[in-house]
């Protein structure tokens, strides 16, 4: 059953750059099979929370448990078989093929002297198919558009075959078609997801629960219906919004009302 046991548990997470506190006392959890979103304006600390979780940054204080194990003490390889990450896209200095990059997702499953097996090839091919990249597998990664690159990164993490996925605004370069397709795909995989999300409407459509950050602190948390209120949006994002239940999706729909159109 969804959420019946805890996959990720974070208590009292604090982080600072030098003496500049970025995160204070973040407390969150993700249950098995849940799709959990982290919301907040730019600079609120969404990416920093995720980077502390996937160990690109080292927290000053806090307890991080993945499946009951201390994430900070877990060895790299084991962490990489449990936790897949779609970070923000980075330039790749050398010319790799799409399929080569996706195949790197198999790395944590490989020992020092293991070659690539037939099974690896099947997994890579399936990941390419799922992300609509099958016909681009021999293309050069650096010549792809921003959206295609994001799909390659998703395909790589699918090939990694982890049950837990951390995503940092995975759809910010995608056309609306691929935004929906990507989230639909992730939903269909029935894995556990924690994702920073920029777009409140996407969060309302896909997330089971939400955490809202403001200035490095947890502002509120709950289901989309609890959290996505005009008051929260005004307080955290500083804009007026109209929130309604959409008759077709059955989910919340947020319409922003700019100052110029208010009467």
């Amino acid at each position: 059953m969804k959420g019946d046991h805890m996959r990720l548990q974070v208590e009292q997470l604090s982080f600072s750059y030098d003496d500049d506190p970025i995160l204070e006392n973040i407390r969150l959890h993700v249950g098995n099979g849940e799709f959990v979103g982290i919301l907040g304006p730019n600079g609120s600390g969404k990416s920093t929370v995720l980077k502390n979780l996937y160990r690109a940054l080292k927290p000053n204080a806090g307890l991080l448990l993945l499946d009951g194990e201390d994430l900070l003490r877990m060895n790299n390889k084991k962490a990489a078989t449990k936790l897949g990450v779609v970070g923000q896209e980075q330039a790749v200095p050398f010319d790799f093929k799409v399929a080569d990059i996706v195949a790197m997702g198999r790395s944590p499953h490989k020992g020092l002297f293991d070659g690539d097996t037939q099974e690896d090839k099947v997994i890579v091919q399936a990941a390419l198919q799922q992300t609509g990249l099958a016909d681009k597998s021999r293309r050069s990664y650096s010549n792809l558009s921003g959206g295609e690159k994001q799909r390659v990164l998703l395909a790589r993490v699918l090939a990694q075959q982890t049950e837990f996925l951390i995503m940092d605004e995975p759809t910010n370069h995608l056309d609306i078609y691929y935004q929906l397709q990507m989230f639909d795909l992730i939903k269909s995989l029935k894995i556990t997801v924690l994702s920073a999300i920029h777009d409140l409407n996407l969060a309302a459509l896909y997330c089971d629960r939400l955490y809202v950050l403001r200035d490095g602190r947890l502002y509120t948390t709950g289901t989309p219906e609890d959290v996505l209120t005009p008051e929260m949006i005004r307080d955290v994002y500083g804009v007026h919004a109209d929130v309604t239940l959409h008759p077709v999706t059955g989910k919340l729909s947020i319409t922003y009302v700019p100052d110029s159109l208010q009467n």
Partner: protein, 359 residues
């Protein structure tokens, strides 16, 4: 018709998508072997390639009895005592420098990294001369020169890397400029030492350190560079997956299960060992580490599983032939080989720079 079929086959072998490594590696090995035999024969006094092959065969105990001794003692001396160690040293030095380039490029995630350009060669030369002059590392015995050059190479890589790393990322302008400045400082140190104490340094003049030379190679010079080369290339080949992952960035390599910190230390160690030991025997031969990995990637793609071995072979072949040109063009005088590689490598670097800024 037949010709286009041949061209298609060549293209299919060197196809960057699916290069046929079972053809490429043996072909390069053969080419390397042929280059050694031919290059040994070439010089101010030429020896026919067949004679060279016979002399070499007579030295191998297995084949010795089946060879007719129809050459002069002079030819044997030229082939076996003078040129063979020189050509083999060229092979080792070329392979080592090319692989140093691959390692440094993976470390800084940029194809413009090269031991010569980033001052590593100069650093190695400076500490090597210091070591010779003051006997600073005399307690290390016969390998003084190599070990002091290694220490200089390591110090330079660490300094340049630390200067150019801004907020966890390598800043490429900072990298190249700090490399140039460190090279200037180190070259001045080398020059001051070699000018002020010319007699203490014997054969190792300032020109040797600045522009490289394989002249004066002896069989005894080969052992250490060979061992270091084999160990370092093996260490990198074993970790080819993590080298690939590192090119995606530190964070990504971490999320794929690699210990990025340990990998970076390994790369610094390997690059310093290769550069230091090589430069101690040959001086600074520039741009091999820049040109060879780039040509290799054009031939077989960027996967380090292929790049390492092909770079090593191509680098060796290139240096052997560059050395042939160096001793032939103004014979009986010799050109320092480093001048030749810079003459070709400099424009190559500019071309690479222009191409990258267009992207």
């Amino acid at each position: 018709m037949k010709k286009s079929g041949f061209a298609a086959r060549v293209r299919s072998i060197f196809h960057p998508d699916e290069p046929n490594m079972t053809v490429i590696v043996p072909a390069l090995l053969l080419l390397a072997l042929a280059s050694i035999i031919l290059a040994v024969g070439l010089g101010p006094v030429s020896v026919h390639a067949v004679t060279v092959a016979k002399i070499v065969a007579s030295k191998l105990s297995l084949l010795a009895s089946s060879v007719d001794r129809d050459w002069t003692q002079l030819e044997e001396n030229i082939v076996w005592t003078l040129r063979m160690p020189r050509v083999l040293l060229g092979m080792i030095v070329g392979a080592s420098l090319a692989v140093t380039g691959v390692a440094m490029q993976a470390l800084v995630r940029n194809a413009l990294a090269d031991p010569f350009l980033l001052g590593v060669s100069s650093g190695a030369a400076a500490t090597a001369t210091l070591g010779m002059l003051f006997g600073v590392f005399a307690f290390l015995g016969t390998y003084v020169l190599s070990i002091s050059a290694f220490l200089g190479a390591a110090a330079t890589i660490i300094i340049v890397y630390a200067i150019s790393r801004v907020k966890g990322r390598i800043h490429i302008t900072q990298l190249l400029l700090s490399g140039v400045v460190i090279a200037m400082i180190m070259d001045s140190i080398t020059n001051i030492i070699t000018l002020s104490a010319p007699n203490a340094l014997g054969l190792h003049s300032a020109a040797f350190w600045m522009s490289g030379s394989l002249a004066g190679a002896k069989w005894a010079y080969l052992t250490l560079p060979l061992i270091v080369m084999v160990c370092c290339i093996t260490a990198l080949m074993i970790s080819y997956r993590s080298l690939n992952a590192l090119t995606l960035g530190d964070e990504t390599a971490g999320t794929l299960g690699y210990n990025v910190n340990r990998m970076q230390k390994l790369l610094i160690l390997v690059a310093s060992l290769l550069a230091g030991v090589t430069i101690a025997v040959s001086g600074a031969i520039g741009f091999i580490g820049l040109m060879v990995p780039h040509l290799t990637r054009l031939l077989v793609g960027s996967d380090h599983k292929r790049v390492l071995i092909v770079s090593a072979l191509l680098g060796g072949i290139l240096v052997v032939w560059a050395d042939v040109v160096a001793r032939m063009v103004i014979a009986p005088q010799e050109l320092p080989i480093g001048l030749l590689t810079s003459l070709v490598g400099g424009p190559f670097f500019i071309w690479l720079l222009k191409r990258r800024s267009r992207e």
